[in-house]
């Protein structure tokens, strides 16, 4: 008898809990009144209300992108239901099924987050962690707040940067985000400050819309450095199926920012997230990205290399299983000379899942001596699965050094035999090969996240055999 792996007996469908919620009200669509109410509830400054209303106007004018995966399953006319769920959820920790609680433990999720993840209302207790982190950084002048508070406490700083990197006119979901955003993180690192320990996002507000439309704004000033981690491997228990967050990163001259994400969405989710960085002279942005779950993901973190010598590194992995389309990649705009980009994208698909790498490297006419290397590797675990690579190169300067390499592979029977001949079961052999494939990403993550990612892979592979 084959021994099952530790988390193999967790039923995946437990994550996809039936709709038990009632909505406090429904209207035919998103209108000014709703936006005014959101803003009033948050007690925001007027300019933010104006911004929201302007974004709403753009949202109504724009169409859904004509390219990319099918998102017709998204009930766009009923978007209002995603924005204003009833806030006093009558679910208690006792109502959460044992299996889900056990899954959190097995995934190694900290105890403090269990209740939050289970969707049990405003129980998430991050206060303690938050305060100790805060105290430490305050001494260095680092600001770390939830976005809703930052709008009020650091109004000028936020106003100067908010949706300047990703304007609402960018696409329909950016406009939607501008209108209804809620929650998220705000980080400001003053010039020359090196934040030694990775900063993790603790702000998971339970306010309506938070988690669906959260906004992250990070400013790393000249010569400063930061590693920011956003992520969680347990899918949030949510009936809302649209995620349209926005991440804006400002990397100033000589600054360094690493932005790591491990995300795992419940399998009904349309994940249409917009992430972008503007990098000044000799600055560096590093994206580490692991995308799991969701029904459809469209995710293309973008780096605008604005100053000479700016650099962007992208290391990403996606895992598409049954009925999933993960359309991901990265965009880089080389807008200045001597800028460098490295792209290392990996994807895994199984049980009919579709992984698409969609990426753009654009070199503007003035940008000479640009270096870019692009590597896309995909691993298909069966013959039903699909993998596409759509790399676009738009090069408008002759003095460039660009390398591109794409590999599509399957797990070889010979490797499986090799591992099995050492006593390793077929199931574990496959998992080992897949984990090995993901290792270049895992090794860039802090240990606890790497462990979570490996657990996720294990969970996703469940049932691959027989």
């Amino acid at each position: 008898m084959r021994k099952k792996t530790q988390v193999a007996d967790v039923n995946r469908s437990l994550y996809d809990i039936k709709d038990k919620f009632e909505y406090s009200f429904k209207t035919d669509g998103l209108n000014e009144d709703v936006i005014r109410e959101i803003s009033a509830q948050k007690n925001e400054p007027d300019w933010m209300l104006e911004f929201r209303l302007k974004s709403l106007g753009i949202y109504h004018k724009l169409d859904v992108p004509p390219w990319g995966p099918d998102i017709s399953g998204l009930d766009i006319d009923n978007i209002i239901t995603y924005v204003k769920p009833k806030t006093d959820l009558n679910v208690t920790w006792d109502d959460v099924p044992e299996d889900i609680k056990n899954t959190f433990v097995r995934l190694g999720i900290p105890q403090a987050e269990h209740k939050y993840l289970a969707g049990v209302g405003a129980q998430y207790d991050s206060e303690v962690v938050y305060h100790s982190v805060q105290e430490n950084f305050r001494k260095q002048g680092v600001i770390y707040l939830d976005m809703d508070t930052a709008v009020k406490e650091y109004e000028d700083l936020v106003r100067k940067h908010f949706m300047k990197c990703v304007p609402p006119s960018d696409h329909k979901f950016a406009a939607l985000h501008g209108a209804v955003w809620s929650g998220g993180s705000f980080v400001y690192v003053p010039a020359g400050i090196k934040v030694e320990i990775p900063l993790q996002s603790y702000f998971r507000s339970n306010a309506p819309g938070a988690g669906q439309f959260e906004h992250t704004l990070i400013i790393v000033e000249e010569g400063a450095s930061l590693h920011f981690i956003e992520g969680c491997s347990a899918p949030k228990y949510s009936v809302n199926n649209l995620h349209a967050g926005c991440v804006e990163l400002y990397v100033k001259e000589g600054a360094f920012l690493r932005y790591s994400t491990i995300e795992n969405w419940s399998k009904n989710m349309y994940n249409l997230n917009t992430k972008r960085a503007i990098v000044e002279k000799n600055g560096t942005i590093e994206w580490i990205s692991g995308s799991f779950g969701s029904k459809v993901s469209m995710l293309y973190p973008m780096s605008i290399l604005k100053g000479e010598g700016a650099r962007s590194d992208y290391t990403g992995i996606t895992f598409a299983g049954e009925d999933q389309v993960l359309d991901t990649g990265t965009k880089v705009v080389h807008a200045a000379p001597y800028t460098t980009s490295n792209i290392n994208a990996k994807s895994i698909s199984k049980s009919g899942g579709v992984s698409v790498y969609r990426g753009v490297v654009r070199v503007l006419p003035n940008a000479h001596h640009v270096k870019s290397s692009i590597s896309c590797e995909s691993l298909m675990l069966d013959s039903d699965s699909r993998s596409d690579t759509i790399p676009v190169l738009d090069i408008n300067n002759d003095e460039v050094d660009i390398g591109h390499e794409a590999k599509i592979g399957r797990i070889s029977d010979e490797v499986i035999f090799y591992l099995m001949s050492r006593g390793i079961s077929e199931e574990e052999a496959r998992a080992m090969i897949v984990r090995g494939f993901a290792e270049p990403i895992a090794k860039e993550l802090p240990l606890e996240y790497a462990v979570e990612m490996n657990n996720l892979i294990r969970l996703e592979l469940e049932g691959t055999i027989g």
Partner: protein, 251 residues
């Protein structure tokens, strides 16, 4: 023979529908070292692979028994757990999986007992020292970017760590320089005991200067064409397989 260790009877094996082994008989007793020699394409690697249960090799007739258990329908991992080991002629590369991680997992899978990373790594380092392998090999990915010689050493390292009852070495000494052959041979000598058995598939007598075999077999055209003691090695050195080959062709 008092105890039956490895017994292969009338083994017929097809690869992609063409017959490769055509009625092979072989017995290996506990504590014995056997050498199998034969021309290219004779079926030596086929025998090695079929012993470990490679799914591509189809047994159409005959039996393989190990310690009284019929292996024919067992999966490769089940055979490994019974104590079989193959040092591959062409070891596979596994990017992203470190040697130490892989070997520890394999050890745990085989013994069914967990072993701490620290304790395991101590054992691993000992065995690596024995094979003059630098410590950093432990944290390199399995065979990934290894030279031919490093891959063969890695196979012997795995054998020393996993401590099988029966080890089949498929041309482990091929493509190695003189020093590497000596190191590998020392590893094999270290492993040799009255409790286990070794089958050495080789083209060269060099490794046999270090390891005295008990029996020598010539595998020609899918059968054992001749068996005897170490004196057969000298015979093959002098006259080659051609004479034997034409005999078996006539048969």
């Amino acid at each position: 023979m008092a105890e039956r260790f490895l017994v292969i009877k009338d083994l017929h094996v097809n690869v992609e529908d063409s017959p490769i082994l055509k009625g092979l008989n072989l017995e290996v007793g506990r504590g014995e070292v056997h050498v199998i020699m034969g021309p290219n394409g004779a079926g030596k690697s086929t025998l090695a692979n079929v012993l470990l249960g490679h799914p591509k090799y189809e047994v159409t007739a005959g039996t393989i028994e190990f310690e009284g258990k019929l292996l024919n329908d067992l999966k490769p991992d089940e055979r490994a757990k019974l104590g079989l080991f193959l040092s591959f002629q062409y070891p596979e590369e596994i990017p992203g999986v470190t040697m130490e991680n892989f070997l520890r997992m394999a050890k745990i899978a085989q013994t069914g007992e967990s072993i701490s990373i620290t304790k395991f790594n101590r054992i691993l380092r000992e065995k690596m020292d024995l094979l003059a392998m630098k410590p950093e090999y432990a944290s390199r990915y399995v065979n990934d970017g290894f030279s031919g010689g490093e891959k063969k050493k890695s196979e012997i390292l795995q054998m020393l760590v996993l401590e099988p009852k029966l080890a089949v070495l498929d041309e482990t000494d091929s493509g190695l320089d003189v020093d590497a052959v000596r190191v590998v041979a020392q590893g094999v000598k270290q492993y040799r005991s009255s409790e286990n058995a070794i089958v050495i598939i080789t083209h060269h007598s060099r490794i046999l200067e270090y390891i005295q075999p008990d029996y020598v077999h010539f595998l020609i055209d899918g059968r054992i064409a001749k068996s005897g003691g170490p004196e057969l090695i000298a015979e093959i050195e002098q006259s080659g397989f051609a004479a034997l080959q034409s005999q078996s062709g006539r048969a």
